[in-house]
Assembly symmetry: C3
Homo-oligomer: 408 residues x 3
């Protein structure tokens, strides 16, 4: 076994808040899957790589033996209560900076509260579709399309003044095979008119489905502890408005995170292949805005290719490591084939459970150590460069891309 | 090396019969490939992962040393004769239950005969396209389309009374990118009318190509020992009828097996990506019918994703292990990334040669032991759960999905 | 660690020439990537698997320690001069035969010069698109389309008399999803008429972009040492003419190399999936021309499938090994899943830098030894067959496919 490679405090460049209230067993288990449906008869979500990883890394932090059965773990968790569980787990993740996507509904810890609990700092990532939906939900009846669009553009600019970056789930809402060009102002206004009209009429609005990432990312919580937050406008799926949001974000120059690869069943995975973004990435190149391809699995090799050929494109491997558990080393290795070492970013994509920060960071650190340590041991890599590259992926690359100063 | 993980008698949830007659060398070799064509000049199908796996596992069962050259092995096989070879090989596979797709032509052992030879039991999987083609072949000239469709629907219902499940090769006949909705009765009748008419006229019927899985799966046997069975109607490729068959099967509630991933050159592999089924899987969810995605390679990670997010979807890894031989452990590992452990099923997809049962089960057992044993050894998995999960994949999951009682 | 498997002198079945002149640091670094753009701010192309592989294998050949920092290596290189660097590096690659794609512009070593420097022999691979563009560039103003097409057909036939094979970059120029049928003579003439007219008018001709493989493969050299060669006609992207070229090459019976998989950002990677060629491969089968699928990554498993089912199809793994460095063993292993062992070919795809021949051959030899040696050690493969298969992939398969006599 290779000796551990020392890592700096991690920059978790994509995560969500933690559910503040106590979770019953069913709600806990529902947060161990990307599915928004119950487990199949005779099965449990604990029987998965993620479930086994939670049982490996978390019990000892709550005073239990590693790998205790799920029932014992859940009992101990109830005994301690949500605040104590958070207090014990989150600091163990070794995360120095959290970049928090605040676009999910529910009673989740906001960035500052998360940072305080974890002993680090936090910055906000603004989810574009949520911004547009909140604005539509808050608009007075009869608001004209032009007025709405002006307000939206102003809201993106305003968000850019404080946010660390933007995020889009256009992969969920349409697929990544969208028209790469910016829509014209007339097209945007017409699309806004249709959308606001549909919202008022209620006629063509698709019912909320409680999906995890596309909309609510809280499928398992629907009957559970934390009802999805209300007050939003209708779900935004109009491709013209989705493209307009992307281009408005690009124009701010802030990093833009794009969901790619797997997620809940609200998406069509083969339409979330990051390679479908090639023409869009070409088109936005001159704008100088970094684009971060989130997750990527099972298309992470393609994401690495895009990061290889486009200077402004970066790849993330967060969610894929948590969900593949004992296989994290191999998945990380695949991401490190074509992706230049200055282009890969760490994240946990943790959501809801503090356990997911622990699992995400432990799997990452372990996989990185074994992988790079193995390459040093067989002579492929020099030891000094392995340490340097590990620090880049763990924190340095994200600090550079998001412009995080040493005090962040 | 990790100690072997004990496995129960396997449930081989997808296999075919064994050729009853003696095979000449060319016919034997033709059953070592998914190709329906001869080997390239200067090459042999023995020079493949499957060929090497046969030479690893089978010679000792016939009294030879492992890895003897192909010529010696074939000579010994001829010496013993097909019945003795079957008697020596099949029981060594350790299979307790065979679920046999009976839709391939040729003089193959029927399920009961196979079970008797192997010392286990067997149940039938009814191939939908073969059912429709046999019915068309047996129909009196001038049979009306409505009458044919009524007969077909009745035949599906009748099959459901005894079969363990259904199988479709719509991936071969059309691709998995079919319209996910059930066709209307009028559309089905019109399609049947066209198809029966073409059959009578012979005009638009595509010539039989002797493909292995799509139709005959016996390409190499065409000039060999076992001529493809005759008496069928024309090849069914009409997408409306193919979809009707799928929906009729779904309505019975029995498990539905779908070919996905690689096979003979009669398919277009990129149109057999299981992710293309996403909308169909969504649509059939409420019907309560389990859907099993067969093979999957090289899209088995996508199949694992579908099994992750849809409660009624299961993944199989059989054929991929046999054909990748020394690489079986890695391929199995990839399947075990997103696929919940209660959702993966074992099979051999063995066809024609008793060797393929041996190779399929040995490669599976070896890969599972090394993989799970390795995860226990490095602390990722607890030993007890590794044994439990191994037994689930080897037999338990299939017993639950197909409702196989302890006596089966 | 497994003992090394002895390899014969390699047949590098796809490579390019070496830049003859001295390269400044920026030009050197630009040849370490498939990108045609500068490295992202704060990053260097040396921080990549290829960069680390160069630092592993090449410094000792120039009298330095392995893994010296890039600056020291470049300094030593400048000190020695390009001829001495070539003289020291190329023979260390152990390549006996170079098949050189001569279709790239720039001041590159022609095949005979490359062979002399490396101590081996060389044959030419003629790039079809370059042939057509050179002919168009040399055509007198007012040349009729029919005359141009006749000249083109004659040029393909003439090239076939001396070339070892043809190569097409239709994947770059259109994507592999082209109409598989040969175009009619009338279509070809009309397309030639449009193309020659556009060339004269200059109106619809796409500006040269300096892309690496599609056109110039020398993006990083644009401001550097070696300007792209001039005098060519306009870039050929017309799908009818591209298909005509493919079919004319097929009719000669010589091996046809097709770019598949990753390359510079001038291609759309998802449109370079070799599986998109399935219908074309079926269509050209009867012509008896071997087709070699180059590179393939990340679709190399699909390329292996095509080589498995089609007798006339072969797979190559060259470029993928160089660019994945420490991961080369795994990438090679994936190629060796479905691909019959008589169907995989070695290459370096080296271009510009002599370092790339060294890296390509060392990574290949190391990966092959570890992989096959590991399979021998765990009992999967017999030792004798491992040596035999290694020699096939290293040289024998290519010798057979390209008809290279023992004197070549």
């Amino acid at each position: 076994m290779a000796p551990p490679i020392p890592l700096p405090p991690l920059v978790d460049q994509h995560c969500h808040g933690v559910v503040r209230s106590a979770l019953d067993d069913r709600a806990f288990e529902a947060l161990l899957t990307e599915s928004d449906r119950p487990a199949a008869p005779g099965t449990t979500f604990f029987d998965s790589q993620l479930g086994f990883a939670v049982r490996r890394w978390c019990p000892s932090l709550l005073g239990l033996d590693a790998h205790v059965p799920p029932g014992e773990y859940l009992e101990r968790r109830r005994e301690l209560g949500p605040e104590e569980v958070l207090r014990r787990l989150l600091p163990a993740a070794g995360i120095g900076v959290h970049l928090v996507d605040t676009g999910l509904p529910g009673d989740l810890t906001p960035p500052a509260e998360l940072a305080a609990a974890g002993g680090g700092t936090a910055r906000e990532i603004v989810r574009l579709e949520t911004l547009a939906e909140r604005l539509a939900g808050a608009a007075a009846p009869g608001t004209a399309a032009g007025e709405y669009v002006d307000g939206l553009d102003a809201a993106v600019l305003a968000a850019a003044r404080t946010a660390a970056g933007f995020k889009s789930v256009v992969g969920y809402r349409h697929g990544l095979d969208f028209d790469p060009r910016p829509p014209s102002p007339g097209e945007v206004r017409a699309a806004a008119d249709r959308w606001l009209g549909a919202r008022r009429g209620g006629g063509t609005v698709r019912p909320r489905s409680g999906v995890r990432d596309g909309d609510g990312r809280a499928g398992g919580l629907r009957g559970g502890a934390s009802p999805a937050g209300g007050g939003h406008g209708p779900r935004l799926t109009d491709p013209v408005l989705l493209r307009h949001l992307l281009w408005q974000a690009v124009r701010t120059g802030l990093p833009l995170q794009l969901h790619t690869g797997f997620g809940d069943p609200d998406l069509r995975l083969h339409r979330c292949d990051p390679l479908l973004l090639t023409d869009f990435l070409s088109a936005v190149g001159p704008a100088g805005c970094p684009v971060v391809l989130l997750h990527g699995y099972p298309y992470h090799r393609g994401a690495g290719y895009l990061a290889h050929v486009f200077p402004h494109v970066y790849a993330d491997i967060g969610l894929a490591l948590s969900y593949t558990g004992a296989r994290a080393r191999t998945v990380l290795a695949e991401a490190l084939e074509l992706c230049p070492f200055g282009k890969l970013l760490f994240s946990t994509d943790a959501y809801g459970l503090p356990e997911l920060y622990v699992v995400g960071s432990r799997l990452f650190a372990g996989a990185l150590t074994e992988l790079l340590g193995g390459w040093v041991a067989d002579g492929s890599w020099p030891a000094g460069d392995a340490e340097r590259v590990a620090a880049m992926i763990a924190a340095g690359n994200a600090r550079r891309v998001y412009g995080l100063g040493p005090g962040t």
